[in-house]
């Protein structure tokens, strides 16, 4: 069981300053929510490098080699189609499909990786309990902190001190 403390801020500078200050005060599970990316929030939250490019690279390598090997095995090993004595393993003729399987696998890996990193689909999340949080996808800038219930009031007070326009608290329900 955990508590979520949410605070809404007026602009990018304010939310970044608040994020930095809370992080330095030892609140680890911080996140910001906004309709468009907030300028400077990555540094303020000290976010690690995204693994998405690596996931894409794995997709490219698997898709490219998998596509080529598939064609080679099917057309040159398992079922050789002899058309006028042309070579069964014809590298130039395998280029177009190798390219297509590379792109397709990479795209599926990128999107699948993105969803896995986001934990999608996760249709419900405790922060959605706050009605005012609905502005996070429209024009609101929100900072959320996941803390143990005992610490929630202190963090809420800290958010108010850092200039949050409104602060809310959600307590996760105990699993029945």
């Amino acid at each position: 069981m955990a508590s979520y403390v949410l605070g809404e801020f007026a602009d990018d500078a304010a939310i970044c300053a608040a994020a930095r200050s809370l992080r330095e005060a030892g609140v680890a599970a911080l996140d910001a929510h906004s309709p468009v990316p907030i300028h400077g929030i990555d540094e303020a939250l000290a976010l690690p490098r995204s693994p998405v490019p690596l996931i894409a690279l794995v997709g490219v390598l698997l898709g490219g080699s998998g596509g080529y090997l598939m064609m080679w095995w099917m057309n040159a090993v398992d079922y050789v189609i002899d058309v006028g004595g042309r070579p069964a393993h014809a590298a130039p003729a395998f280029v177009p499909i190798t390219f297509e399987t590379t792109v397709l696998t990479a795209a599926v890996f990128i999107v699948g990786g993105l969803f896995a990193l986001a934990g999608f689909p996760r249709l419900h999340h405790p922060v959605f309990e706050v009605e005012a949080f609905r502005t996070a996808s429209v024009d609101g800038l929100w900072l959320s902190a996941e803390v143990e219930p005992g610490r929630a009031e202190a963090v809420a007070g800290e958010l108010r001190r850092l200039g949050a326009r409104q602060v809310s608290r959600v307590d996760e329900e105990e699993e029945p």
Partner: protein
């Protein structure tokens, strides 16, 4: 900002200043209200009329396809020697139209062309729906569409595999990859707006429906970091993909030995033609839509003018393709090539199609050398329709005209489309329209999250230049 106000702002623009890509300084909520307006507004009578019309044609498609499948493709006008006719013409035409969507969303993103922002959602939807129509044709043209799964490499009891050295197999992979990657790209770009739709919805049904598609998007900074990289990488993948698709479609022709098909200019010439026809279709659709939806402040005259410039540039590339084909026919000294290009096409029974193609694709885009033509909505709209017609006649010319007079005069024959051919073609136009109208009704046709970001960038720049 209400739509009439937005229009008034566009009309008040200083004619001496360059037209901006975003008129005024709408706030985030204003943008949401305006761009989501068509989704939340009650259904309009005009939309219903258009939808009814499109759906009728879509029903014609279903009837004609059912008839074709039940009877066999003998109900088409195809014959020997014209074995590829309406089905391949329409396939290439629809696939080509799709290309502008990917070009706008991916290539212009990589080149940081800001004017893409308000039209990319629109163009990507057009891509998806156009590729869906395209896929109908080769699927039927196999003759036994219930065996179409044989095209995919799966371990079958027959114990054989597809021949991957055939350009027709390349086509299967290229077009299916193109459709799936475009779908992923479009959906990922849609997520922030789906979340905003969920959060601004008034009814529980809408909230749940959009909520399911939004997958639980919370606009998290942790996710935005991955999201931006993923979106950029998808754009980077789509860029060579879109060039590869029409290249591979052109290989269907270029790899054969038929005069009029066997030319090395084909891949670049097909890609240019695809972008040409795609931009024409974007203009055909966006001009009425921006007016009806009241989006003139986000899809400004600047966007239309830039698209006119793209039409002019790609039109010139297509013209160069024609020139290169004719030059090769003459320079090769091949009798069959020169007979095709200088006799059959220009003076044969299908000559009107050739001259219509030359008029629509070579002559018409030249008016865009004039700024006045680029700024006139009506000129743009009519020219865009003529280009669509021109690109259809180009495929007719390549396919039917080349096939109906090949090497032996004894095997020459004419091709005439039957009512089934026409019904399937008109039906795909109806199906495309139906899908597009549903898109305009249920999905914001301009990306609110991207326009918000654009506004921040523009403000940041204005601020920076004012500071010096």
């Amino acid at each position: 900002m209400s739509p009439p106000e937005a229009v008034a702002r566009v009309e008040r623009l200083d004619p001496l200043e360059p037209v901006p890509v975003l008129v005024g300084h709408p706030g985030d909520r204003e943008l949401n209200d305006q761009l989501f307006g068509p989704v939340w507004a009650p259904t309009r009578r005009g939309w219903l009329v258009l939808f009814g019309l499109s759906a009728t044609f879509a029903a014609v498609l279903i009837v004609a396809v059912t008839y074709t499948v039940a009877t066999g493709i003998g109900v088409w006008g195809n014959n020997i020697p014209v074995g590829w006719a309406f089905d391949i013409i329409n396939f290439v035409w629809w696939i080509g139209i799709g290309h502008a969507g990917t070009l706008i969303s991916a290539i212009l993103l990589l080149f940081q062309q800001r004017w893409r922002t308000s039209i990319n959602r629109f163009a990507e939807a057009m891509t998806l729906f156009a590729v869906m129509q395209a896929l109908i044709f080769p699927a039927l043209h196999t003759g036994r569409p219930w065996f179409d799964f044989w095209l995919f490499p799966y371990p079958s009891t027959l114990g054989l595999w597809p021949n991957f050295k055939s350009p027709l197999m390349w086509d299967v992979f290229a077009v299916n990859t193109y459709f799936l990657v475009s779908l992923l790209f479009w959906y990922v770009g849609l997520l922030p707006d789906l979340a905003a739709l969920r959060d601004t919805s008034k009814s529980l049904v809408a909230r749940k429906a959009y909520g399911i598609f939004a997958l639980g998007w919370r606009g998290s900074a942790r996710l935005w970091r991955h999201y931006r990289i993923a979106y950029l990488l998808l754009a980077g993948l789509s860029t060579p993909l879109v060039l590869s698709v029409h290249t591979i479609v052109s290989f269907d022709f270029a790899v054969s030995l038929l005069p009029g098909w066997h030319a090395t200019i084909f891949p670049p010439y097909f890609v240019a033609g695809a972008i040409f026809s795609g931009f024409a279709m974007v203009l055909t659709l966006v001009i009425p839509a921006r007016k009806v939806l009241g989006f003139e402040n986000v899809i400004t005259p600047r966007h239309l003018e830039n698209m006119a410039k793209v039409l002019l540039a790609t039109g010139l590339m297509v013209s160069y393709g024609y020139l290169a084909e004719h030059f090769n026919a003459w320079y090769s000294g091949d009798r069959f090539e020169s007979f095709l290009f200088f006799q059959t096409r220009q003076r044969g029974p299908y000559a009107p199609v050739y001259w219509l193609m030359m008029f629509c694709n070579v002559v018409v885009p030249q008016i865009f050398w004039w700024k006045r033509a680029r700024q006139s909505i009506w000129t743009l709209w009519i020219a865009s329709i003529l280009v669509n017609v021109g690109m259809w006649t180009e495929r007719f010319n390549i396919i039917v005209t080349s096939l109906h007079r090949d090497f032996l005069p004894s095997s020459w024959a004419m091709y005439y489309p039957t009512w089934v051919d026409w019904s399937i073609f008109a039906g795909t136009v109806g199906m495309f329209g139906t899908l597009f109208l549903l898109f305009l009704r249920f999905v914001p046709s301009v990306s609110a999250s991207e326009v918000k970001e654009l506004r921040r960038e523009l403000e940041h720049e204005a601020h920076a230049s004012a500071g010096h």
